[in-house]
Amino acid sequence: MKEIKVVKINDSYYQVDMRGWMCPYPKYAIEKLIEKLPSQSCMDLLVDCPSATKDVPEVVKEKGLRVEKVILINDGEWCITICNY
């Protein structure tokens, strides 16, 4: 199976790269991802399917977390910033 690449930007900021995972994979992954995210942290979720920019924030808000921003970073690629504080 494909891997999900994660890098650390600083002690409380991570970047999770799910580009290449078509929808609805990111939507199904996000629930477990926010459970795993250390407390008082943020993560950038990189996706390349348009529907995820709507689906993922919906799930995140349902879980009571905060979506900082959703931005287009490249052609067909978006960055969704999620914080758990």
Binding site: M1, K2, E3, I4, V6, V7, K8, I9, N10, Y14, Q15, V16, D17, G20, W21, M22, C23, P24, Y25, K27, Y28, A29, K32, L33, K36, L37, P38, S41, D44, L46, D48, C49, P50, S51, V59, I71, L72, I73, N74, D75, G76, E77, C79
Partner: protein, 306 residues
């Protein structure tokens, strides 16, 4: 093509490559969709959506199959991604350069050039005495644009009911069937093309729907959906289109009769003919109502679970 041009304009186009497993999934999905299409028949949009509003018994039967199929397909996708997430450990990850955004893009510019050339092609058709081809070509482009922008997704409609316990899209699909059924009833009761969109009914609707349902979730789109996604640059959809066409093409070679004929397919059942209009209304709207209640029940269970 229409989908490709608007995807470019909105900077949503990207050539999305897959690994071997991704292509394999696309191929299997396409194969199942091809098989499901000839069994059901036809695809999920007509087989379920249009057939139900046209009072064909095959519609609700195909719906049941699609519902179960989408559930199985969705579970497969969820298991795959869960495994990948399991392997992540935020504590252990290394510090590295994050991916940053790029500001410059010629995508929008390309998209406009593309759509202008598409319009030119249809003009060429027109001038060379093929106005019907020009019209169909234009219709295809507009259809592609609408589908790409609106993100109508029958796959998500079926899949999300059970996997995310979110039936919002499906409820709207059901309501649209109900509204359109009234229109069909008016036309058909006046004797206008009563057998239009009435398909053979039988166990093959459920089986075909089930196979198609699994296939569409693995391939990442229904019949039209994978066409739109192919325009957005999903290579998995390209694979699914290829195997899907090959499968349904090969079917006519293997199966001795034409599709919708022979021992496999039941006879078309036009409900008002069998049950009268009152009975037909009862069956179709009863089906829609029960399906609606079932979705609501599933949605409520989601909050109890938390």
């Amino acid at each position: 093509m229409g989908a490709l041009s608007v995807a470019l304009i909105n900077r949503e186009f990207k050539l999305r490559k897959e690994n071997f497993l991704g292509y394999l999934m696309g191929a299997i999905g396409g194969f199942l969709m091809g098989l499901g299409t000839v069994l059901m028949p036809p695809c999920n949009v007509e087989g379920f959506w249009v057939a139900t509003m046209a009072f064909s018994l095959s519609g609700p039967l195909a719906g049941i199959g699609l519902f179960i199929g989408a559930y199985i397909g969705g579970k497969i996708l969820k298991i795959q991604v869960s495994k990948a997430v399991e392997n992540i450990d935020f504590i252990k990850v290394q510090k590295a350069e994050p991916v940053l955004s790029k500001k410059h893009s010629i995508s929008t510019f390309l998209g406009f050039i593309f759509i202008i050339s598409l319009l030119l092609i249809s003009l060429i058709y027109y001038y060379y005495g093929m106005p019907i081809h020009a019209g169909l070509f234009l219709f295809g482009i507009v259809f592609g644009i609408i589908f790409q922008r609106s993100r109508i997704c029958f796959v998500a409609a079926f899949r999300e009911i059970t996997i995310s316990k979110n039936g919002k899209i499906m409820k709207w699909v059901l309501i649209s069937i109900g509204i359109s059924a009234i229109g069909f009833a008016i036309l058909k009761s006046k004797g206008y093309q009563p057998y239009h969109m009435v398909f053979p009914a039988g166990w093959h609707n459920i089986v075909g729907g089930l196979i198609f349902g699994i296939g569409m979730v693995l391939a990442g789109g229904c019949g039209v959906g994978i066409l739109v996604r192919s325009g957005e640059g999903y290579t998995r959809s390209w694979m699914a289109i290829l195997t899907g066409m090959l499968t349904s093409g090969a079917w006519t070679g293997i199966y001795k009769y034409k599709v919708e004929q022979g021992w496999l397919y039941g006879s078309p059942v036009f409900l008002p003919e069998k049950l009268g209009w009152a009975g037909a209304f009862l069956v179709i709207f009863g089906f829609l109502f029960i399906f609606y209640l079932f979705i609501t029940w599933l949605e409520e269970r989601k909050y109890e679970g938390n």
